[in-house]
C-alpha cells in the first residue's frame, strides 16, 4: 500500500514538474482562440446565410420596376446584365452556393436600379429636347409673323 502511494506521489510530482503549460497559460490560450474565432466566423455566417432570400426578392422587384421605366428600350445593356446576374444567382442558390447567390442577387438588384435610373434620365432628356425644339419652332414662326407684319395681313385680306 505504501508502495502504491509512493508511486502515485512520484507520478504526480513528475507530472507537475514536466507539465509545459500552467492553468494560466490554458486560460490565455482559450481566451485568445475564442476571441479570434468569435470575431470572424459568426459574422461571416451571419452575412452569408440570412439575407439571401431578401436579396432575391429585392432584385426581382427592382427588375420589374426597371422594365416599367422602359429600361429594356432605353438602358438595354444594364437591364440585360441585371437579368443575367439574377439567373446566375438562381443557379448558384440551387447548387447550394449561398454566399455567391446572395452576392449575385445584390449585384442584379443594383444593376436593375441603375438601368431604371438611366432610363428615367433618358426619358427626361428626350422630353427636354422635345420641348426645346417645339419652343424653337414656335419662336421662329412668331418672328416670321412679326417680320411679315401688315403686308401679310393685307395679302390675306385680298
Amino acid at each position: 500500500m505504501g508502495t502504491i502511494f509512493s508511486i502515485k506521489a512520484a507520478m504526480i510530482g513528475r507530472a507537475k514538474t514536466h507539465l509545459p503549460f500552467s492553468a494560466f497559460n490554458y486560460v490565455i490560450f482559450s481566451a485568445a482562440f475564442l476571441s479570434f474565432g468569435c470575431s470572424i466566423l459568426p459574422l461571416n455566417s451571419e452575412r452569408t446565410a440570412k439575407p439571401t432570400v431578401g436579396a432575391f426578392s429585392k432584385a426581382e422587384l427592382s427588375l420589374r420596376t426597371a422594365a416599367e421605366a422602359r429600361a429594356d428600350e432605353l438602358a438595354p445593356m444594364d437591364l440585360q446584365r441585371a437579368k443575367e446576374k439574377l439567373e446566375h444567382a438562381r443557379k448558384a442558390m440551387a447548387a447550394g452556393r449561398d454566399t455567391e447567390a446572395r452576392r449575385l442577387a445584390e449585384a442584379a438588384d443594383v444593376e436593375a436600379e441603375l438601368a431604371e435610373a438611366k432610363a428615367e434620365a433618358e426619358i427626361m432628356r428626350l422630353a427636354a429636347d422635345y420641348i426645346r425644339r417645339r419652343g424653337d419652332v414656335l419662336r421662329q414662326e412668331l418672328e416670321g409673323d412679326v417680320k411679315r407684319g401688315p403686308a401679310t395681313e393685307t395679302s390675306r385680306g385680298r
Binding site: 514538474t17 500552467s22 444593376e111 436600379e113 441603375l114 422630353a127 427636354a128 420641348i131 417645339r134
Partner: protein, 116 residues
Amino acid sequence: MSPENTLHNCRARAATLSLLAILSGSCGVVHNPALDRARNVYERVRRDPAVAGRAAVALEKTRSTLEEAERVWSEEQDANEVEHLVYLTEKRAEIALATARRRIAADEIQQLRPQR
C-alpha cells in the same frame, strides 16, 4: 517549485504572450486597393457640382455601402466580400450620376415652360 520549473514556466508564458501578440497583430488593418478605388469614386461623385443637391438619397446609399465595405474589411478581413461591396459602391455612384442627369433635364423643362 525548483528554479528549473520556474524558468520553464516563464518560457512557456513568454511563448504564449508572443503567440497572442502575433494573433492580435494579424487582426490589424491591412491596406486594400479595392477600398481605395471605392473611396475615390465616392469622393469624385460627391464633389461633382452636377450631383450636389440633386441626388442626395443615391449619394447617401453610396456612402453607406462604402462604409459597410470599410467595416467588413476592418472587422472581418473578407477580401471577396469587400470586392463585392466595392462593386456595389461603384454602381451606386453611377446611379447617383444618372439621378443627377434626370434632375438636370427636369430643371431644364421647368425653365423652358414659361417661354412657350
